[in-house]
Structures are given as C-alpha cells and as structure tokens.
C-alpha cells in the first residue's frame, strides 16, 4: 500500500510543513475512521517530514535522520495493532525517534574510534541564501551542547512541547526538564559569546 495521497491535511492531523506541536485533532481522527483510511498511513503522511526534521537536529545529518525516522515508523507499524491508545501515537513516535537518534550517536562514537576522522562537509552554495549567518552560529553552538540539553531545547523551542510532554518523551522528570533547559540556554549564550569574540 503506497502511503502517498492519504490526504493527511484534509483529515486534520495538523500542519505538515514547518515547526510546532503535532497533536492530531479528534475530529480529524474520527473522519479518518469514517472514511476508512488506514490511520497508520495518515500518521506516516502527516508526521514523516516533521519527524525527519526533529531527527536531523539530533543526529545532524538529514540522510541519517531519514533512516532514524524510517526505523521508528517500522517499529511503530510492527506494534500498531497492540497500541492501546492510537491517539497517543505521535508521542510514541517522537519518543522512538529520540531513542533511535541516541543509538545512532552511540554507534557513531564507537565508529569514530576506528575510523580516521574526516572533515565535516561544507554547506552547499545555497545554504547561505536559506540560512542567515546568525542562525548558523546558533545551530553550531547548539550542536556543541551535551546531548540531553540539545534534546530538551529542540523539543521545547522547535517542537513546542510543554515541560510535561518533554519529560514523557525523554523519560525524565519535569523538574529535570526545567533545569536542563535553563542550563542549556545559559550554555548556548556562553558559546555564542565565545564565538563572537
């Protein structure tokens, strides 16, 4: 079954481009069932791009991010019939993406122990037109943060999740989310200051 043309937008799974929270609207979910369209296909169509963007922030490579998201969807598909609350599928998916991104980073650390380091590919010529220098500085600073701080900041300021939702996604307490975000912002500011001097 091809997943193209599932009509996610029409079914109300929220936006499919750009950032923001991604909670399926109830009316849309009911519409999907009424129209007999597989809800997994709808979810895939609606959330794939968003999840690839999220994964790209965590693994820093769009191609690897696509692999991570594909693995996450494959895992979700295998458990789809046993999912007790399909309304919460987006939350489960986001959690799977974060966990699989961590696994990729762990494997990457191991591989770097055996492979001669190569230079990071330079951004393409069109990158400058798409992204201001100030934004690039912030992204570089973000990449240098510890993993958990980076995850919290991305989920907070790109996915627009609440502290409770971030806590559930990362498997940590809401208090830890708050303190990690605070430390992350301070570290980010310090890194930007260092890079500008």
């Amino acid at each position: 079954m091809s997943l193209e043309g599932a009509g996610a937008d029409a079914l109300g799974w929220g936006r499919t481009e750009g950032g923001g929270a991604h909670t399926p609207r109830t009316a849309g979910g009911e519409a999907a069932e009424e129209q007999g369209i597989g809800s997994f296909a709808v979810l895939y169509r609606a959330e794939r791009l968003t999840m690839v963007r999220l994964a790209a922030f965590l693994v820093d490579d769009p191609h690897v991010a696509e692999d991570v998201v594909q693995d996450a969807f494959t895992g979700l598909h295998a458990h789809w019939h046993r999912l007790r609350d399909q309304e919460a599928a987006v939350h489960y998916l986001r959690r799977a993406v974060v966990n699989k991104a961590r696994s990729v980073l762990r494997r990457r650390r191991t591989a770097r122990g055996y492979v001669w380091p190569t230079a990071t590919p330079e951004p393409g010529a069109d990158q400058g037109a798409l992204m201001a220098e100030e934004h690039r500085r912030i992204r570089r600073a973000l990449t240098g943060l510890p993993r958990r701080q980076r995850e919290v900041l991305v989920l907070r300021y790109w996915s627009d999740l609440s502290e409770a939702q971030i806590a559930a996604t990362l498997g940590i307490s809401a208090g830890t989310v708050k303190s990690t975000a605070s430390r992350g912002l301070k570290a980010l500011e310090a890194a930007l200051l260092r890079s500008s001097t």
């Binding site: 997943l3 950032g19 069932e33 791009l49 963007r53 769009p62 458990h79 939350h91």
Partner: protein, 285 residues
C-alpha cells in the same frame, strides 16, 4: 521570553525549513494495516475457524483448572487463513496443563475466566497480525503460546504465558504476559495492588535487567528507558511480565521490545529485600 529563546526558536525553524517534503526519499511501502472496521472483511473461513479455535480453548481451560493435573498433553488449537494477500496461515497454541489449586469453585471460575480471556486475546492478536503480512509471503506462519511458569508466593498465584509468533519477519516476535491472582478470592492482582510506587520498582527492575542482560545485547540505560511497569505509561514498549515468586519479583521481556531487530528473552529477578520498602501492607509471602 528572553532574546536567546527568540533567537534559538528562529534559528531552529529556519534550519528545519531546509528539509522539505520534496527533498525526502520516496515514501516507504508498509503492509496494509487493518482498520477498525475491517474485521467484517475477514473471510468466512477465518471467522468459522477462529470460532472453532475459541471453542477448543474454552474446553481446554476447563481441563486446565482440574486440580491436580493428570494429563499433561498439550492442548493444540489451529486455524487457517486464506485471503487474497496472505499465504495459508496456521496458528498453533500449545498449552502444557499447569497444576493450579484453587480454594473453592468460585475462585476456580474467576481464574478460569481470566485465563480463557487471555488465550482468546492471544489468538486474536495473532489473527490480526497475519492480515498485515505482505503478499510475497509463501511459507506457513505460526504462533505458539506456552505456559512458561506457574508459581505461587503466599496467597498469590501467577501464570506466565510466553508467545512466540512467526509473522514472516526475519525472526519471531516474542511476547510475554502474566496473570496473577489472589487465591483467596480469585481476584486478578496487578503490580499496583502490590506496590506503593511503581516508578521505584521500575528503576530496580531496569537495574536488574541491565545486570542480567546476555552478552552482546542492548547497550546501556538508554535502551531500557522505555521500559515501564505502569501500563498507562507504556507506549510501543510492552511492559515486561512481572510476577511474585519466592525468590523475588521476576520479570521477563523480549529484546525486540528494547532494540530493533533483536530477539531473545531477558529475565531478571529482584530479591524481596530490595522491594520491602515499596510493598503495600499485607502483601507478603
């Protein structure tokens, strides 16, 4: 909202916009999933066969509750599916008869009903799964449910079911379920009935699993982060089967629940001395 927050938000959105839908690979093809209303589309043959399977299960469970068990002949239930996209599929449910001693007829009936329901659900889960197998599958598929352990601790009786399902993947899908009863009343017991704080118990169980993991399996805490004993928090990671035994709280989970493309049971037993502070009053062996 401070300046750094605004800047970070703007930078993230600008960066995310670089990845566009038309820049992604072509969409993946997944097997068709069964929508809630598609049960009606199951063939008559499958429906009739499943009904026969259920009847056999019901009959078998009646034998299961006859204490003490004299006949250990496994109960086998089969059903076959022939649909347009699924090869002939056979499910086998094998049940060695465990020795279960209830205290009165009412207790036995409650326990029997719960076990019957569990087995029916297992058969239904497998029947649902096989409808999503791609049409290229040519070999017969099978699922086996076995009673992995029947154990008593104090007033508690636990029956653990281990399911190994061949759904056409490279390795079987293993899952474990457990039913625990209070033998005085026949009532089903959950971990929440036994412990005051499931999060603390979960932490201890994860530590035990990490210590007992087979060599070459999952790596560290991160792979166990999705493991929870609280069913309401469980997402795609099925909670491990945990039940009381004389040695401690025993838990079982399949590696496939933790890391993709892995399989094999992970067993861990947490001694009671590590759990006494979270046991509810009156819960003891």
């Amino acid at each position: 909202m401070t300046g750094i927050e605004d800047e970070l938000r703007a930078a993230l959105h600008a960066d995310a916009d670089r990845i566009r839908q038309d820049g992604l690979r072509p969409p993946a093809t997944f097997p068709a999933t069964r929508s809630p209303g598609s049960r009606r589309r199951l063939t008559t043959l499958v429906t009739v066969a499943a009904a026969a399977a259920t009847a056999l299960v019901v009959l078998g469970v009646h034998l299961l509750m006859s204490p003490p068990a004299r006949d250990a002949t496994p109960l086998t239930v089969t059903f076959t599916s022939r649909t347009s996209n699924v090869a002939p599929t056979k499910a086998t449910i094998t049940l060695p008869v465990p020795e279960v001693h209830g205290t009165n007829m009412k207790t036995d009936q409650r326990v029997s009903k719960a076990i019957r329901q569990q087995l029916t659900e297992e058969a239904d889960v497998f029947r649902n799964r096989i409808t999503s197998v791609p049409g290229t599958e040519t070999r017969g598929l099978s699922a086996k449910v076995t009673v992995g352990e029947t154990v008593t601790w104090g007033h508690y009786l636990s029956v653990r079911f281990d399911t190994s399902a061949d759904t056409g993947d490279e390795h079987p899908v293993n899952e474990s379920d457990v039913l625990t009863f209070d033998t005085r009343t026949g009532a089903a017991i959950t971990l929440g009935d036994m412990f005051t704080d499931l999060d603390k118990v979960g932490d201890t169980v994860r530590a035990a699993m990490l210590a007992s993991r087979p060599a070459g399996t999952f790596h560290d805490w991160h792979d166990l982060e999705t493991v929870t004993l609280n069913p309401s928090e469980a997402g795609i990671t099925k909670p491990p089967s945990c039940y009381p035994t004389p040695a401690g709280l025993r838990c079982r989970i399949d590696q496939g629940q933790l890391t993709p493309f892995d399989y094999g049971w992970i067993d861990a037993t947490v001694p009671w001395k590590h759990l006494t502070h979270v046991l509810r009053p009156g819960v003891h062996g």
